[in-house]
């Protein structure tokens, strides 16, 4: 684990900013809860949904255990189909490889469909600094790209934006009429705008949802058909994938594709499931396989399950904290519970507050299509942060003190008596002073005169000590 910079503000501050606009936080919560409910209904229509999740988790675990072999099998078969396979150790290598391919073909404009990996690698600014225009062609991605923002959600990149705001953005950037906020009209405007970009792109880039070892094919799921639009016209297709995207057999897709769309959006299947087996006639297909820290997570037995994630976003939609704090509060390319895990594995110091951005309610575990035990892993990341002495010293000291008090019954009782006395006796102005974070929006409990054990001893006459 690298020891990067310390986190500047932390999730609580960023989350509080988002939550301060209560109406907006409420709207964000409702929008995502709607997706969660849609997911519930879609999952309910699949007989043996829970067995499907078991199967997916088992395939993922199996694949992880033989990852190198499956990746090599994928490479062999992809090459046999005419693709060129590249290996990138980290984000910098990935960006260099992609840039080399593109500049070697004199590419000026790339039409890119959704890829969280290229976000992770910071590919867009890298290419743009070298004179290559990247057009994100997923509608949500295009919106945040036009706004100069990162995605706030891995499935709904612009979920934090209200339609009126998108109308304003399109008015400024695409010349739509002022005040236009009808989603259909805005989508149509984006479509016309993107059509022109598709036509003039010199290369298409995509992410990879699944890479099939057995066939050497890659699978990309979109709802807008933009992966196909972006890759069918130009002769050059560059696909970036993390090492964890490989599945052993074509038949395994039957498990994952059924889970993915239902978990992500509540659809029975994504509108377009595009299979690429080698380049189009006269074209080139390059697959860039990226590690970028994944091997380190894989080597950590307690963290590796987070790598089985299929990026459906269900944990975000169900997370009561995410819904009320927004994707940006995580300040990591992947937000939400899974993002908190990945971020804390990658750079615990820079993301120290993320494992605490959870009530450990466990809802994420239960929606996860590949059964990542997210809330338990968040707890383990907390433990790692404490052991690495990354948590604030004040917290360490207060927790040690609390531990000591709780380990000594008489001290614990004395502390309890003092606490109850203070709660009863202190004037409200002091009790609810600035120090009392609990009491900002909540009343404190009304303290009883006697603890349970005091009453018990008095009434049951049991001695102690």
């Amino acid at each position: 684990m690298s020891a990067g910079p310390r986190e500047a503000l932390g999730h609580p501050v960023r989350a509080a900013r988002f939550a301060a606009d209560e109406a907006r936080a409420h709207w964000h919560d409702q929008a995502l809860w709607f997706v969660r409910e849609k997911r519930d209904r879609a999952a309910a229509l699949v007989p043996d949904w829970e067995r499907l999740r078991d199967a997916a988790a088992a395939i993922r675990a199996h694949t992880q255990g033989r990852l190198a072999a499956y990746l090599e099998e994928f490479e062999r078969n992809a090459i046999a189909r005419g693709a060129v396979v590249h290996w990138a150790r980290d984000a910098a290598e990935h960006n260099d490889i992609v840039h080399r391919i593109l500049s070697g073909h004199g590419v000026r404009r790339v039409a890119k469909s959704k890829s969280m990996l290229t976000e992770e690698c910071g590919l867009n600014p890298f290419l743009e600094a070298r004179g290559i225009e990247v057009v994100d062609t997923d509608l949500g991605e295009r919106i945040v790209q036009l706004a100069g923002e990162p995605p706030s959600h891995i499935i709904f990149p612009a979920i934090h934006r209200k339609r009126e705001e998108i109308g304003e953005l399109f008015h400024a950037k695409l010349g739509t009429p002022a005040g236009l906020a009808d989603p259909k009209a805005l989508t149509e405007a984006a479509r016309v705008h993107l059509r022109e970009r598709f036509m003039s792109a010199d290369a298409g880039m995509t992410g990879v949802n699944f890479a099939v070892a057995e066939t050497g094919g890659i699978v990309v799921c979109t709802n807008e058909g933009n992966a196909d639009m972006g890759t069918h016209l130009p002769r050059l297709h560059v696909a970036s994938m993390g090492v964890e995207k490989v599945v052993p057999r074509l038949a395994d897709l039957a498990v994952f594709l059924r889970l993915l769309a239902r978990s992500a959006t509540g659809q029975p299947v994504t509108t377009y499931t595009s299979h690429f087996h080698g380049p189009i006639d006269g074209g080139e297909l390059h697959v860039v396989v990226v590690d970028n820290g994944r091997s380190e997570i894989l080597a950590d037995a307690e963290a590796r399950r987070s790598l089985t994630c299929i990026r459906c976003g269900a944990c975000m939609n169900t997370c009561p904290v995410f819904r009320r704090s927004g994707g940006y509060s995580y300040e990591y390319v992947v937000p939400g519970p899974i993002g908190a895990l990945l971020a804390a594995s990658r750079d615990p110091r820079a993301h120290a507050s993320l494992p605490f951005a959870s009530t450990l309610c466990g809802s994420c575990d239960d929606v996860c299509p590949v059964k990542v035990d997210l809330h338990h892993e968040l707890l383990l990341r907390r433990r790692d942060l404490a052991r690495a002495a990354i948590l604030p010293r004040s917290k360490r000291l207060s927790m040690s003190l609390l531990g000591w008090i709780l380990a000594h019954r008489a001290t614990y009782e004395a502390a309890g008596r003092i606490l109850r006395l203070l709660l009863r006796r202190l004037p409200r102005a002091i009790l609810y002073g600035a120090w009392n974070v609990w009491g900002r929006r909540r009343e404190l409990p009304e303290p009883p005169a006697e603890s349970f054990r005091e009453t018990w001893r008095r009434t049951r006459g049991a001695g102690h000590g």
Binding site: A15, H26, T318, A386, L406
Partner: protein, 247 residues
């Protein structure tokens, strides 16, 4: 049957009436209750804050204090889950640990699974909203979480609905977290309170007069918000509700 009562530290200090109600429910059902006086805390506040190493001595202490009973019963799903699901790293392999783990129950779970109670002969003529605390629901399996596509069950709801006169009100979000979350309630105060307020609104919209649940921690948070916002809801731990209904 002789059971040891495990009263979570904050219940002992701040909500003794919940401990007393637990005793009254158990004794009414013919259970002999012992309160091991040396008990303090299961260590969950430390472990959940990341300080697992500081929690380890409390786990060892717990095993020592609570060994040798027919069962350990606790009026908290979260603290019960600490023992059952989170003590392994501290106590695995120690004599008596497996027995303790298997024999530690949340109150309603104990009534249903051990005593075999199917219905209670009590009366509670009120509209009640059931707050399903997360650890009881998802870690102990007191019910089927809404996320899982499995046959529906609900141990707490089952006991409550057996009371005469009670009306369990349907919530829009049956098992969303209230936002307490231990230190989360303070560390992430803004989001915590927003979550709590949304739960209150759900119960109020459903027409609840009383909100009940297995964990005082969640209820303390909701009650604190409700009193500040002057939401006219009454909060009763399920032991208090059952004790009131049975008397």
């Amino acid at each position: 049957m002789r059971v040891a009562l495990f009263v979570p530290c904050y219940v002992d200090q701040l909500w003794p009436r919940v401990g007393l109600a637990t005793v009254s429910v158990l004794e009414r059902l013919g259970v002999e209750v012992v309160f091991p006086d040396e008990q303090t805390c299961c260590g969950q506040p430390l472990a959940n804050a990341g300080f697992a190493d500081a929690a380890a001595p409390l786990a060892r202490r717990f095993l020592e204090i609570f060994s040798g009973f027919d069962a350990v019963v606790c009026p908290s799903g979260s603290c019960t889950s600490m023992v059952r699901n989170h003590y392994d790293p501290f106590l695995a392999g120690r004599p008596g640990f497996e027995t303790l783990k298997r024999g530690t129950y949340e109150l309603c779970e104990f009534l249903v699974d051990v005593l075999g109670v199917k219905a209670l002969d009590g009366r509670f003529p009120h509209r009640v909203g059931l707050h399903q605390s997360c650890h009881g629901l998802r870690e102990l399996g007191l019910g089927t979480p809404s996320e899982l596509l499995l046959p529906r069950s609900n141990k707490v709801g089952g006991l409550l609905s057996s009371l005469s006169g009670i009306e369990l009100v349907p919530l829009a979000r049956a098992d969303e977290c209230c936002g307490f979350g231990g230190t989360f309630a303070v560390a992430e105060e803004a989001v915590s309170c927003l979550m709590g307020k949304d739960r209150l609104a759900d119960h109020a919209r459903a027409g609840a007069e009383v909100v009940t649940g297995t964990d005082v921690s969640c209820l303390m948070h909701l009650d604190g918000l409700a009193r500040r916002e002057q939401v006219p809801l009454r909060f009763l731990h399920v032991a208090e509700l059952l004790s009131e209904a049975l008397s």
